[in-house]
């Protein structure tokens, strides 16, 4: 009997060993209790404890930015950026509608892709995070003090704002490149005249050192290729910017085939310092344009939208020696630069291999004028002269590469669905782990800087299938967290992500958590309809516009009885939250309002409009369970017929 037990124990341990060695299938690794318990410890953040990193994940087609903790994978917040967000009233309130203004009018949605955190000297400084709107080209800046969108600038002459929003190492510029080339300026052209007539605009948007305020400094009008992704040079290559291209064939239809004919496309290497100097000395051509610049002021709690009418363009031929093409095989997608700035990696998405270019070899080739012809006057360097190495990965469909702080690189392979770890310099593959499934970007906190924090890598997948309990045909996307502190990567966690995260930016929590604002100061509220004391509450009429300046505090509105409103009026509820206590927002919802609710933070003022259509007495209430008396936090508006002569009146408790 004893021996049978022994044998069974042995067999059981053997199966444990086997599954820990060879089995990387997430489904059956569930059998491995010993390994799983140590993995559980790695991702377990005890109740009340904090995560080590913030991860800002793009929302993709949600148009927003989500904030997660790592390693726990817990989501803390969804920050509305390019999309209306009825939860808070963003894009619905009078104050925030201008944030979504564009040259096309209000565009209440976008496709947000690549967040990037501001840097100083190539190191994350945690002041702002930038993100691009891909569809209607825009760049947004989000404050890491308020975690709110502070600014959105539209990018003219661009379409499919995809090789964006990457920042230079002192946040001098946030760079936005066009994926789709278009006529510049836009014109009524036959589409098949694409070749030679369409341009690809690469925009360098300056960022004010103090305020973060953005402005388009210059646009380079490049040949009509597709500019797919980009990254800044750093450290030794600071001053340069690298963009992958595809469709150097300049096809305008069935790109799937027609843009995949050239064996090599290009990485465009741009010496932006040289072009900056050129425009600072009066170079470039001012071109009429029309694009929105929307700025939110945290003191007036109000956004303003200004239409800019001009943009400075640069023709590459006018700045010789500033732009070169680096031939790169197989329609490269991701364009990544190592922390030292020496290597530029082209992830040839139709290939098994990665191409690594050397920055020093590139400079050398330029100096010795070793060119292999030109494209539209831009010199093409010789592939062999600039090549540092090729990573023979054995995987298929490399998309993106990030870096740790130990000289390793990590590349995602979409087709073979895996992350591959390789050594910078020797180009040898060290490890590979599957992802679930079809990974797009990956993220290492600080992985796009001189100083990565190489403890975790997050893989962001495009396909979820069976990873979680099924929720019908539509699923959230899935992310996997790998521990990369050792030689081999270890899959330690798997969690769903909201929207469709493309890229993400991570940062040690200690760098920003202390700056997170708790309240808005009421005594700094400069909103024109704000009231700082309940006795200033008032209701005024201007034609058919009724303006209500209202206060809210636990647990009542001042005023809460309003009469004299008529059918056909447009009622503006300007509501100020008088709390000055952390995490005491109040909500406001009006029956029949055709927009959204408002969620108003302490010290903040927001405005909701309401156009009453029916006679009656209509209630409003607080939507945020603010206090023990939350259910009592309500009020009424009496709506009289349009021809009524009832005067405006308002009160709280009969006063």
């Amino acid at each position: 009997m004893k021996s049978i037990l022994k044998i069974m124990t042995l067999l059981f341990s053997a199966s444990v060993l086997l599954s820990s060695c060879g089995n990387n299938n997430g489904k059956s690794s569930g059998n491995n209790s010993a390994l799983n318990s140590s993995n559980a410890e790695k991702v377990y953040v005890a109740p009340g404890e904090y995560d080590e990193f913030y991860a800002f994940m793009s929302g993709g087609y949600s148009g927003n930015l989500t904030v997660y903790g790592l390693p726990s994978g817990r989501m803390f917040k969804e920050i509305p950026v390019f999309s209306q967000f009825p939860t808070t009233g963003y894009g619905y309130s009078e104050e925030t509608k201008p944030m979504l203004n564009t040259s096309f009018g209000m565009v209440p949605w976008d496709d947000s892709h690549h967040p990037d955190i501001s840097q100083t000297n190539g190191v994350l400084d945690g002041r702002w995070v930038f993100i691009n709107g891909n569809n209607t080209p825009r760049i947004a800046r989000i404050s890491l003090k308020t975690f709110e969108t502070e600014e959105i600038i539209e990018v003219p002459n661009s379409a499919g704002n995809h090789s964006s929003s990457f920042i230079t190492e002192n946040t001098e510029y946030v760079v936005a490149g066009t994926r789709f080339s278009v006529p510049v300026p836009q014109a009524d052209l036959p589409i098949n005249e694409y070749k030679g007539k369409f341009k690809g605009a690469l925009s360098f948007i300056s960022v004010d050192k103090e305020t973060g305020r953005m402005g388009i400094k210059f646009q380079i009008l490049m040949p009509g290729f597709n500019y797919d992704l980009s990254h800044p040079g750093r450290d030794k290559s600071h001053g340069w910017f690298f963009f992958t291209t595809y469709n150097t064939e300049e096809a305008n239809s069935l790109l799937e085939v027609n843009a995949s004919q050239n064996d090599k496309d290009f990485i465009a290497a741009i010496n932006w310092k040289k072009i900056e100097e050129y425009v600072n000395n009066g170079g470039g051509t001012k071109m009429p344009a029309n694009y929105a610049h929307n700025v939110y002021d945290e003191h007036t709690h109000t956004a303003t939208s200004t239409m800019e009418k001009e943009v400075l363009t640069v023709n590459p031929a006018d700045v010789p020696g500033a732009i070169y093409f680096l031939p790169t095989p197989k329609s490269p997608h991701g364009c990544d630069v190592t922390p030292t700035g020496e290597y530029i990696i082209g992830n040839g998405k139709l290939s098994a291999d990665l191409t690594v270019h050397s920055f020093s070899k590139m400079l050398d080739a330029i100096e010795n004028k070793k060119f292999d012809g030109d494209a539209y006057g831009i010199p093409i360097l010789k592939y062999e002269d600039i090549l540092a190495g090729v990573v023979k990965s054995g995987g298929l469909g490399p998309l993106h590469t990030e870096f740790d702080d130990k000289g390793n690189a990590y590349t995602t392979f979409f087709i073979s669905s895996e992350v591959v770890k390789w050594k910078i310099g020797t180009w040898e593959v060290i490890d590979r782990k599957p992802t679930y499934y079809s990974v797009g970007h990956l993220m290492i906190p600080g992985g796009n800087s001189r100083k990565p924090f190489g403890k975790y890598v997050v893989a962001m997948n495009k396909i979820t299938k069976d990873r979680y309990l099924p929720t019908g045909p539509e699923l959230e996307h899935s992310a996997q967290l790998y521990d990369i502190s050792g030689e081999k990567m270890e899959l330690i966690y798997d969690f769903p992500t909201h929207g469709e995260p493309h890229y993400a930016a991570g940062i040690p929590a200690d760098l920003i958590k202390g700056n997170s604002q708790k309240i808005y100061r009421l005594d700094e509220n400069k909103h024109p309809y704000a009231i700082t004391s309940p006795d200033q509450a008032k209701v005024t009429r201007n034609g058919n516009e009724v303006h209500i300046s209202m206060a809210m505090i636990r647990s009542h509105f001042t005023p809460d009885n309003i009469e004299g409103v008529k059918v056909g009026d447009k009622v503006y509820f300007h509501i100020t939250n008088h709390e000055q206590d952390f995490d005491v927002p109040h909500g406001f919802a009006m029956i029949g309002a055709n927009n959204s609710e408002l969620l108003i933070m302490p010290g903040q003022t927001k405005t909701l409009t309401w156009e009453p259509k029916q006679v009656g007495v209509w209630p409003f209430y607080c939507t945020d369970f603010c206090s023990a008396l939350h259910q009592e936090m309500q009020g009424y508006v009496r709506v009289s017929p349009a021809n009524s002569d009832i005067e405006l009146s308002w009160s709280l408790d009969g006063e």
């Binding site: 309240i519 505090i553 636990r554 709390e579 000055q580 206590d581 952390f582 023990a628 008396l629």
Partner: protein, 203 residues
């Protein structure tokens, strides 16, 4: 009696700390307030430990019908206390100087101490009276009225010293830096008395 005089002067001057630091501190923690709200009681008024604490304490207290925390001009104590402390400092320093140059006896030192102790006890008595009034004088229309098991309405007097659980709040009331400086100062005046006595015997 030079040494004793100097100690007396230093001891009296330590009371000046009350003009800079709080005399007393009351902290209110609760599940919803992991960072407790707090009030620092100075001789010339009450301030929040964090900027908006008083407003937030008042906001919570309105549920149980408590009056708002008094402003300095609403209580005579906040104008009288600084004068009394200032006067006692001046008196102590004067006695110290006179002792130093041998014009008064060391017994004056203990005299000052006894006077200060009487004033201190009166002050504490007055403070306790205020706490009782503050915690017990409730609005009859209060939103939440809690009845004690014995049928009397619950009142909310914070403890004068120490800890007390009040509804969901953990209330702690303790002396603060100003008070500790005063205690040390007063102790030094007793030391001055004994040192003075010793010096007197030697001489």
């Amino acid at each position: 009696m030079k040494k004793a005089g100097i100690i007396m002067i230093i001891g009296s001057l330590l009371l000046m700390g009350l003009f800079k630091f709080p005399l007393w501190n009351i902290m209110l923690g609760a599940p919803q307030y992991p960072e407790p709200l707090g009030m620092d009681i100075y001789i010339d008024g009450i301030k929040g430990v964090s900027e908006f604490d008083l407003q937030n304490i008042d906001g919570l207290n309105h549920y149980i019908g408590m009056k708002v925390i008094p402003k300095p001009e609403e209580m005579w104590e906040f104008s009288a206390f600084p004068k009394v402390i200032g006067g006692m400092v001046a008196l102590g320093v004067l006695i110290g100087i006179l002792g130093f140059i041998g014009k008064v006896s060391y017994k004056w030192f203990i005299g000052w101490f006894i006077l200060m102790s009487i004033l201190g006890v009166l002050g504490m008595y007055d403070f306790n009276q205020w706490l009782t009034a503050y915690g017990g004088d409730l609005d009859p229309h209060a939103i939440i009225k809690v009845i004690n098991p014995d049928g009397t309405p619950m009142t909310y007097k914070p403890p004068l010293l120490g800890y007390q659980k009040m509804l969901n709040f953990d209330v702690t009331s303790l002396p603060h830096t100003g008070a500790y400086m005063m205690f040390v100062g007063m102790t030094l005046t007793i030391v001055a008395f004994f040192v003075g006595k010793k010096e007197h015997k030697k001489a």
